[in-house]
């Protein structure tokens, strides 16, 4: 068995599947992280693997402890300390997933970067967030939608350890909110709703302050990298106060990214930006997602969420629905096909309704709107029926619901079902 601290895949005995989990090791986080391991619970030899890893690292197995068995679902956790009490030269952060069931696909063992269980926050008698259960996978762009006061910002603040949950639990990047707050803060990036820059300081100075607070090793290099990446390098000596809203937002993005966080929380990243600036910021976020970073974005911009996010959660104190934008549409409205016919009458609609896969059928003028589960599967049968009935089909297209319609429908349903707290 070999323990490797710097690669994504850690080979070890007995056909295990392992990945380095958590932030890339740096000297800055070595003291806090120590060694953090988790092993898939389904492996009967999970504890042995952890002990063997401990032994192979040259550290005293006697100091090896299992502080918690429920930090990440399906995992055991261990923290190792060297026998002489010295901090390790490099943190060893590993997740050892089990391929006990024979499935070796990486996704199967991929731990969620964000995991919440019944996460709840209330301020006095007012519930801000109630029983939020959420998993966001590594590399995913997750959109959080909801009206003002729905609890989006409160959720982000809980997940970035700015405020404490009233109840429930949350894990971010493999670390537990409320226990590993300092590590979480070090390994996540936060773009707040307002840029919150020091207006009387230059762009460069603004970033230098944060580079120091995040204890970035190559401060000058990282500051330059992100100022250049966001097109602000030439204006680095200018006061932040002189920047446009878009430039301020870019500077705030650079600030959130300088320490190379694996998880990025963006609270209304394009709010109050003009379309061009919003487009640039959105493109930048899409680029970050391609780098494999996990992005959690709160937004009111439904079009933006639709285009940017792999999955969307709709929140109104409670999580109303969570799925991909496509599935959200399908779940709420079903998938609808519009068939433009040369001539149509009520008998055609009745015949279509007889088909077992048709949920609904409405005839308006010469247009037949049919709700089916899988158009790609059922359209040929539908058209065959119509042709069989002697109907001439001129056009066939699928109705694409906007996310706005989905959102409004969800809000309407929520208002009907949720009583005031």
């Amino acid at each position: 068995m070999q323990l490797d601290t710097g690669k994504r895949v850690v080979p070890c005995a007995a056909r295990p599947y392992s990945t380095i989990h958590g932030p890339p090791p740096t000297r800055a986080n070595a003291l806090d992280i120590q060694t953090f391991l988790c092993v898939c619970k389904s492996r009967p030899d999970s504890e042995e693997i952890l002990r063997a890893l401990a032994a192979s690292s040259g550290w005293a197995p006697g100091r090896f402890t299992f502080p918690s068995r429920s930090l990440i679902p399906h995992c055991l956790h261990g923290t190792m300390l060297p026998a002489d009490g010295r901090p390790p030269a490099l943190p060893v952060v590993a997740v050892v997933g089990g391929n006990w069931g024979g499935d070796t696909s990486e996704d199967r063992f991929r731990e969620p970067m964000i995991h919440t269980e019944n996460l709840t926050k209330h301020f006095g008698d007012t519930f801000a967030v109630e029983n939020l259960n959420l998993d966001v996978a590594e590399g995913e762009v997750f959109g959080f939608l909801g009206p003002n006061g729905a609890g989006k910002t409160t959720t982000v603040r809980m997940l970035t350890c700015l405020i404490k949950p009233t109840s429930g639990s949350a894990m971010v990047n493999g670390f537990r909110v409320g226990r590993d707050d300092k590590i979480i803060r070090r390994t996540v990036g936060l773009l707040t709703e307002t840029p919150g820059l020091y207006d009387r300081l230059s762009a460069l100075h603004n970033l230098q302050i944060y580079a120091s607070l995040y204890e970035i090793e190559d401060r000058a290099g990282q500051v330059e990298k992100y100022l250049r990446m966001l097109g602000l390098w030439e204006r680095r000596h200018e006061l932040a106060a002189t920047f446009s809203k878009g430039m301020k937002q870019k500077l705030a993005l650079a600030r959130a990214l300088m320490h190379e966080p694996r998880v990025l929380f963006l609270d209304e990243p394009t709010a109050a930006l003009d379309p061009e600036a919003a487009y640039l910021v959105r493109e930048f976020i899409a680029g970050l997602s391609r780098e494999g970073r996990t992005i959690f974005v709160c937004t009111h911009n439904l079009d933006e969420a639709d285009r940017l996010c792999d999955r969307i959660g709709v929140l109104k104190t409670r999580l109303l629905m969570i799925d991909t934008p496509e599935r959200l549409r399908a779940n709420l409205f079903g998938r609808q096909v519009v068939l433009r016919l040369r001539r149509a009458d009520a008998s055609i609609a009745e015949a279509v309704l007889e088909l077992p896969f048709v949920d609904d059928c409405r005839l308006t003028d010469n247009e037949l709107v049919v709700t089916v589960e899988k158009p790609e599967l059922h359209n040929p049968q539908l058209i065959r029926l119509l042709v069989g009935l002697g109907v001439e089909v001129q056009f066939v297209s699928e109705v694409r619901r906007s996310l706005e319609e989905v959102y409004l429908q969800l809000m309407k349903e929520a208002e009907q079902s949720q009583g005031p707290h």
């Binding site: 707040t192 919150g196 820059l197």
Partner: protein, 264 residues
């Protein structure tokens, strides 16, 4: 506790707060004003001849006078010493402006949330803000004292300029009590700032910190309190405890959750 992070906060505070014209003006005006008052008093009374009452006072003061001073100089030195309290007001008032802007200013610009999202601890943040306000206030006080000594020398002669800083009581006041009063003031201002939203309101409320010292001042004017070596030492010792308690309370009051969820 990371010294590097504390230094970063101090540098940030100075770079940001001192670019605020109002803060900068207050920082310059207060030491100048508090030095001008005693210097003006010396100009009026310094050259005056000693009267009957003065002779009596000079006789009382001569046993504790530094050697080599005449009875008149001894009397004048006691007059100079009476203004020591003004040099305690300076470190108390100066940091109020900086501290009020450093917390409430962060509220109004929404810059505190990104700072709190970094791995900085509340103690590191508040120690940084404490020192960022207390250091300039202390230096401002010392600067005022230098002007005071120079003015005493010009108006009353070199022996007095030499005798004034040769008294241990001034060193205790300037090196121990001054910085401690600054820290007391900063922590009080930070506690107030954590609870209000307007920098001006914070500044006005924080200014209440001068009340205890004002009572001592009036006690001194009314002859009820004599600011002697013993009282100065008692103040120095007492302030250690008061500062510790106030810092503890400032950390408690500076609740990240309250600040983020209630600040608008």
């Amino acid at each position: 506790m990371s010294i590097e992070k504390i230094k970063t906060i101090i540098r940030k505070e100075w770079a940001d707060v001192f670019k605020h014209r109002l803060v900068l003006l207050s920082m310059l005006f207060i030491p100048v004003a508090f030095t001008t008052v005693p210097v003006a008093a010396l100009m009026v009374t310094g050259a005056a001849q000693i009267g009957e009452v003065g002779k009596e006072l000079a006789a009382q003061a001569s046993p504790i006078c530094p050697p080599g001073l005449t009875a008149l100089q001894c009397y004048q030195l006691q007059v100079l010493n009476q203004f020591m309290l003004l040099f305690m007001f300076t470190p108390l008032i100066l940091p109020v402006t900086i501290a009020a802007y450093s917390i409430v200013g962060e509220k109004t610009t929404h810059s505190l949330e990104p700072i709190l999202a970094t791995p900085i601890t509340t103690i590191e943040l508040l120690v940084g803000k404490n020192l960022a306000a207390a250091i300039p206030a202390t230096i401002g006080t010392w600067f005022g004292f230098l002007i005071y000594v120079a003015a005493a020398g010009l108006l009353m002669g070199l022996p007095l300029a030499r005798a004034l800083p040769s008294q241990a009581v001034w060193w205790v006041a300037l090196l121990l009590i001054g910085p401690q009063l600054s820290i007391l003031s900063v922590n009080f201002a930070m506690m107030v700032s954590s609870r209000v939203n307007e920098p001006h309101v914070a500044e006005q409320l924080s200014a209440l910190v001068v009340l205890p010292l004002l009572l001592i001042f009036f006690g001194q004017v009314g002859g009820l309190i004599i600011l002697d070596r013993s009282l100065i030492l008692q103040l120095a010792v007492g302030l250690v405890g008061v500062d510790g308690l106030l810092f503890y309370l400032a950390v408690r009051v500076f609740d990240r959750e309250t600040i983020l969820s209630r600040w608008r």
